[in-house]
């Protein structure tokens, strides 16, 4: 993944939905209405984490990018996001090199776009409660 450019990554995923609805439905089954609380928590932390990633890129802190991309990867995958984890994994891998390279810089815009898309889809899902 580390060598994949942002364009290739986002192109390959453009046909996918942002959420694996099966996974989310399963969680709904297990947790019932508690899932609302978790999704709200996710929607609150996602922009914070993206902000941290952006800030880390600005101050040339590759460790910071790695840590926050890792966290966002895990939490988004766990609530059933399908594309965002892949973008995060790409960021995390690139950041392991220890420097802020153009790969990382290029991954940020699609990450933001995808997070908006995910937010829209999750909000729709939340209305079904």
């Amino acid at each position: 993944m580390s060598n994949a450019t942002s364009n290739a990554t986002s192109d390959a995923m453009s046909n996918l939905s942002s959420i694996d609805t099966n996974n989310l439905a399963l969680l709904h089954e297990i947790l019932g209405d508690d899932l609302q609380e978790i999704l709200h928590a996710f929607l609150a932390t996602m922009p914070e984490l993206i902000g941290q990633i952006e800030l880390s890129i600005q101050i040339q802190d590759a460790d910071g990018v790695q840590l926050h991309a890792h966290t966002l990867k895990g939490s988004s995958a766990n609530i059933g996001a399908s594309k965002l984890p892949i973008l995060c994994a790409a960021l995390e891998e690139s950041a392991k090199q220890g420097v802020i390279n153009e790969n990382i810089v290029a991954l940020l815009p699609p990450l933001k776009v995808e997070s908006e898309q995910l937010k829209t889809e999750l909000s729709q899902f939340l209305q079904s409660f």
Partner: protein
């Protein structure tokens, strides 16, 4: 099986995942604890002892591997299941998780419908393992009580296996390659033919074995053992295996004659023993009540360590050689006995005057200073000697020996290698201690103790890099009381735990304040012998660390070389558990004790601290050689070196040239209170504001 549901601990830095896991698992009926990093998780584990841990890998303060290792070090008697949360494709982290001691792994993204099943299985497996372990422990305990062991002889391969007790009873170390002959090596020569006869009867088709034999134990005593066995044969009727039990029946065999013999005789050195000494001295005192008589009690300094290094048989031969030398030294009519392990008693009878005793002592010292030669090597020993005199100190044998013993203890407390006459103050020492003891209790309660900090600087840049925490006690009436006086007292009256805990807490909190102010200094904390051997040391340190943001590696725990070597296997275990928390470890006063390089290398240590006495001696070429050797050795072992007690430019130059890493001494700063230390610090360096914030996120 317990009816109460198991408590689960979730350790993950991502709040969403933590919340998800908590919700899913509590809806499955489990009580949940959760922590947002490894350090918090470890603290919660120590306090609550959950039945299962779900552990994330990547976390900012103490990652999942380190926390898992620490839990394993802390919980040595139970194996709590630790399930590690890893990415599916991350084979490397799965491997590392197992190395750290994880039971299993759960891949992310988490398959929610499988999660509760995985946890149910892991809990059941742990329960089965726990039940098995408890039964095994109970069985071992009962067997130990009954002095009972089991054994098995694989006839074809001639290999003996069995329980620990069996090998203890036969006084042979367990070894997977042990054959019958090796196993029976301590059995008395006369009893071996009988055993072989019984075995040959078995090979002729008899299936039961029963007999008894005697074992000569390494301390010279005899053990009486009864053994039972059951033979197994193969299809051709050839003997394949014998399994059975052994039991120690020595207590039943203690015949009258045996008791009488052992009562007066020391098997190792051939000298009379304590009972004999008491009877002889009593008789002498009754018959010569007015004549001057001296009782000397003598022992070898650091004999225990010597024994550890060179082995029991070395110690035994040393005692035999010493016994010989003492016998030769004495005049006719004098008397020598061995009181206990390395303690000897000399009775000098019918002295005309005290100067006669003085010249005898001189002779004794000259002879004992000569090296003892074992295995073609010279060994120089030092001794502590205590003397009591009849009739002035007393006329009762037991009292005189006790007084000489007390004087000997005193000589030892003063550092050994000296002779002390008994004085009544040694008895009064107790009442002085009582005053000090009460003062110490009050001081601890009122927190009169203060922690001072002595600067440490980087040897190349001379910039501050650390501090050693040193306890100071200023008593309102008694004044400044030196640690060398109250630390041993605190150890004897059981206050060292509280005292050590107070110092550790102060020092770590102080270092944390410096750290947050932008000075990541490493804080050196001394551990006393008792403190180091306490079982809850690991927990104490963790609890102190948990309330701070200080990285654990900035806590440097110092133990003296002699403490480290007094029980090397225990030292290794304890150091491993402290290391699992991430702390740094130093060997203090290095060079003053007897280190085994093999042990030193096996300890997980970071630093050697060269004792100040060597630094003081740097003006001599011998002193320079010693210090160069220690530094070269540390370099070879990959250890960092701190030199203590640096006062002059010449010392600094020499140590710098030799590649010493860190300096400590009056040249750079005396021990000072925290505020003065901070002033000293800010005079020399501007805070580094980026580093703590980065880690403290």
């Amino acid at each position: 099986m317990s009816i109460q549901p198991a408590t689960l601990l979730i350790v993950d830095d991502d709040s969403v995942t933590r919340l998800l896991l908590s919700k899913v698992l509590s809806s499955a009926g489990y009580p949940i604890l959760s922590a947002s990093n490894g350090r918090e998780g470890l603290s919660l584990y120590m306090q609550q002892r959950p039945q299962l841990v779900l552990m994330d890998v990547t976390m900012p303060v103490m990652d999942g591997y380190a926390a898992t290792r620490a839990i394993r070090q802390f919980e040595t008697e139970h194996s709590v299941p630790i399930l590690m949360l890893t990415a599916l494709d991350d084979v490397e982290s799965i491997d590392r998780a197992f190395e750290a001691g994880a039971t299993d792994f759960i891949t992310k993204p988490i398959h929610w419908h499988l999660l509760t099943q995985r946890i149910k299985y892991a809990l059941r497996a742990a329960q089965i393992e726990e039940a098995l372990w408890q039964r095994q422990t109970a069985l071992d305990f009962v067997q130990t009580l009954a002095k009972l062991g089991y054994w098995e002889w694989d006839v074809l391969n001639d290999r003996i296996t069995g329980s620990d007790a069996t090998f203890v009873l036969f006084d042979v170390p367990f070894d997977s390659e042990l054959n019958l002959e090796g196993f029976l090596s301590r059995v008395k020569f006369e009893d071996k033919p009988m055993i072989h006869r019984l075995l040959s009867e078995l090979s002729k088709g008899q299936s039961q074995l029963q007999g008894s034999c005697r074992v000569t134990v390494h301390d010279g005593s005899t053990r009486y053992i009864e053994f039972l066995g059951q033979a197994e044969f193969d299809h051709q009727g050839a003997l394949r295996k014998i399994s059975g039990s052994v039991q120690d029946l020595s207590r039943l065999h203690q015949a009258e004659s045996l008791i009488a013999y052992q009562n007066h005789h020391d098997a190792l050195t051939g000298l009379p023993n304590r009972n004999h000494a008491l009877e002889t001295l009593s008789r002498h005192l009754q018959q010569n009540s007015q004549s001057l008589c001296a009782v000397l009690v003598l022992d070898i300094d650091r004999f225990k360590q010597l024994n550890h290094h060179h082995g029991q048989s070395y110690g035994d031969r040393l005692l035999q050689a010493l016994a010989q030398r003492l016998k030769h030294l004495l005049r006719e009519g004098d008397y020598v006995a061995r009181l206990s392990s390395d303690e000897f008693c000399l009775v000098i009878r019918n002295l005309q005057a005290l100067d006669e005793l003085t010249s005898l002592l001189k002779r004794l010292q000259t002879h004992l200073q000569q090296p003892f030669i074992l295995e073609q090597q010279e060994h120089f020993l030092s001794f502590s000697i205590g003397i009591s005199l009849a009739p002035q100190d007393g006329t009762q044998a037991e009292a005189l020996i006790n007084q000489a013993h007390l004087a000997r203890e005193h000589a030892k407390q003063q550092g050994g290698n000296q002779t002390w006459y008994f004085s009544t103050q040694m008895n009064q020492g107790n009442s002085q201690n009582l005053i000090l003891e009460n003062a110490l209790r009050t001081a601890l309660k009122k927190a009169q103790m203060e922690v001072y900090y002595q600067p440490q600087v980087d040897a190349q840049t001379l910039k501050p890099c650390g501090a050693e925490a040193l306890i100071r006690w200023h008593h309102p009436e008694l004044g400044q009381i030196p640690p060398s006086l109250f630390i041993p007292l605190a150890e004897t009256i059981g206050l060292i735990g509280d005292l050590g805990q107070q110092v550790m807490q102060h020092a770590v909190e102080q270092a944390n304040r410096w750290y947050l102010a932008g000075f990541p200094l490493r804080i050196g904390i001394n551990l006393s012998g008792r403190q180091f051997n306490q079982n809850n040391l690991m927990q104490d340190l963790q609890m102190v660390l948990a309330n701070t943001e200080l990285p654990a590696k900035l806590v440097d725990l110092e133990i003296t070389e002699s403490l480290a070597m007094s029980d090397p296997s225990r030292t290794k275990q304890q150091l491993k558990s402290l290391k699992a928390l991430g702390a740094s470890i130093s060997i203090d006063d290095f060079g003053t004790g007897y280190s085994s390089l093999a042990y030193l290398q096996s300890f997980p240590i970071d630093t050697l601290k060269i004792d100040r006495s060597f630094v003081i001696n740097l003006q001599t070429s011998a002193g320079q050689t010693i210090v160069s050797t220690i530094i070269a050795m540390a370099h070879a072992l990959g250890l960092e070196v701190i030199a203590e007690g640096i006062e002059t430019q010449a010392q600094q130059d020499f140590l710098q040239a030799k590649g010493c890493h860190i300096f400590q001494g009056y040249k750079f700063g005396k021990p000072m209170p925290a505020e003065a230390f901070f002033a000293w610090l800010t005079e020399r360096e501007a805070p580094n504001v980026t580093s703590p914030q980065r880690i403290a996120q």
